[in-house]
Amino acid sequence: MAFLEISDVRKQFQQNVVVKGFNLGIERGEFVSLLGPSGCGKTTVLRMVAGFESPSAGRILIDGKDVTPLRPNQRNVGMVFQAYALFPNMTVADNVAFGLKVAKRSPSEIKSRVEEMLAMIKLPHLASRYPYQCSGGQQQRVALARALAHKPKVLLLDEPLSALDAKIRVSLREDIRALQRSLGITTIFVTHDQEEALSMSDRVVVMNEGRVDQVGAPFEIYNDPATRFVANFVGTLSVLKGKVLDAKAGRIQVGKSEIIASRKIINHNVGDACSVALRPEAAVLENGHDLGSGRNRLGGTIDEVSFLGSVVRIRVKIDDDAISLDTFNNPSAIPPQRGAPVVVSFTPHDVLVLDGETKH
């Protein structure tokens, strides 16, 4: 049995079922992200683990103990909220000490633990400040220290980075991950930001309409999406209309050209319409130099060139569809001109066939 076990959990608000048969086991010290669009039920799952919502059915076990009927203050979990939720009437040190005072720890223990936590978040100099005297990033660090001070069994993070600006978000997510690793605390992180989920997690749970669509390591989720929703939601995807010529051999017609998919096409017969999907980093412009045989090639014209800094995203129009592809910025090379004819090439392994499941 996993350290944190969520078994057959369902949550219904009147007629609206927001979580449908949710199952997940999280090992001790694991960092798991719940990823999905707004309204997919990820926050409701987190709130059920915290005890703020009661499941309509199912059980939640922490370290072998059924916590489903327990109130939030009896579960020994820590939580960081999106809106920081620091107590405005207390200083930073008092905020961190709150849980310890509630647990009636000795004053000397509280003092040393608060100092330890503030040193851990690298803000010992802010101990006597009030929350409104700290920046958003500092407040969220304090919230993290407060959540960890009473040594909870599980740490819950409810979109803790979404209220911060981009630079602080990146630095804080690295800090959170480093802290989680050093403390070895079991963590559930809720986010709708795929970059955060992919960069921080041991495993990612992609949720859609109250269900788990896929659970896996970030690499697996990105490269081998189990459903069309996961493929679309995680990362950027170009989708082309196709027709299956030979399902076993993976032959597909796209426009007037034929391409090969190395993954088996299941649930499709010859002549069926299908969707062919490509990640932007999988496709390259051949620009006259041959990249070798065995590659798929589609002809088209440059439709749009977007400069994103280190990366240049190029959209190539192919019949009625388009493929987006990423190239590294090369200051000595002139970006391709709009309307220029080009050949886009990609390997059969990179082709995802989305209508129906695709498996290796």
Partner: protein
């Protein structure tokens, strides 16, 4: 732009005159007790009158009791409605507004019918229980002001998230209420408290019909029998009310100065 400013100033001056001229007139009249000279004789007479001190002291005490009872009733109610029963908010708002649309004389007659000495709960049977009934009446009368002030304070903080943050750290609801919520709506409670204080100090109808020796009936009695003292008392009552308002402002500013812009 300039014309609209002039218009605004004219409206302001007319409004100010409407309030200030009668007050100046009352103040000026209160200084004329000694024939042919201005003096504070009327104030001296009033302030040395043992009935003044007794009635004022009684009303201050009733106001303090009302404030405590009002806060104990309103703060947990507003907190619970904000946290768990937001759908009940319109109903509670309607109930708290009733004392504004229902004249005090109707409320007090209702009390007298319900709690007279031959009723099942004879609150008017002796002086102490009538005092209790009077303080209940004052709580009702001050409910619109107290509830609105506290509710506004509750809305200005994220009550739900702060409560959840407290709960997840192991705190009970009482600990959260007293350590987290109360301190953060302190200014709102104080505003409600001072408004309640100002209302109770000058209240006449309820105290008079319940036959209690409050400041309001004393004011009426003096007004009916003396010439200059009622004006002095009116000015004193104004000063007490304004002092309450001033304290609300000072406390509010002290708090808001601590906040970032």
């Amino acid at each position: 732009m300039k014309q609209s400013k002039i218009g605004a100033w004219i409206a302001f001056i007319i409004g100010a005159l409407y309030f200030i001229v009668p007050l100046i007139g009352t103040f000026e009249f209160s200084l004329r007790m000694k024939r042919g000279e201005y003096s504070f004789e009327a104030y001296r007479v009033v302030l040395t009158d043992p009935n003044f001190l007794a009635s004022f002291g009684y009303s201050v005490l009733m106001a303090l009791i009302t404030v405590i009872m009002g806060a104990v009733l309103v703060v947990p109610t507003a907190y619970w409605i904000q946290l768990r029963l937001p759908k009940l908010r319109p109903i509670v708002e309607f109930i708290t507004l009733l004392p504004l649309v229902m004249p005090a004389i109707i409320i007090v007659f209702g009390y007298l019918r319900l709690y007279n000495s031959s009723s099942w709960l004879p609150l008017t049977a002796n002086a102490r229980s009538t005092d209790l009934l009077l303080s209940f009446s004052y709580v009702t009368l001050a409910l619109p002001y107290m509830y609105r002030a506290v509710e506004t304070g509750m809305r200005s903080i994220d009550v739900r998230t702060l409560t959840e943050a407290g709960e997840i750290l192991g705190a009970s609801m009482m600990t959260i209420l007293f350590k987290v919520i109360f301190p953060n709506v302190r200014v709102a409670i104080l505003s409600g408290a001072f408004l309640t204080f100002a209302i109770v100090i000058g209240e006449f109808t309820m105290a008079s019909l319940l036959n209690r020796p409050a400041f309001g009936p004393y004011l009426q009695l003096i007004g009916a029998n003396r010439a200059y003292e009622p004006s002095a008392l009116a000015v004193i009552a104004f000063l007490v009310t304004w002092a309450c308002m001033g304290i609300i402002n000072v406390v509010g500013n002290l708090k808001s100065n601590k906040r970032p812009a």
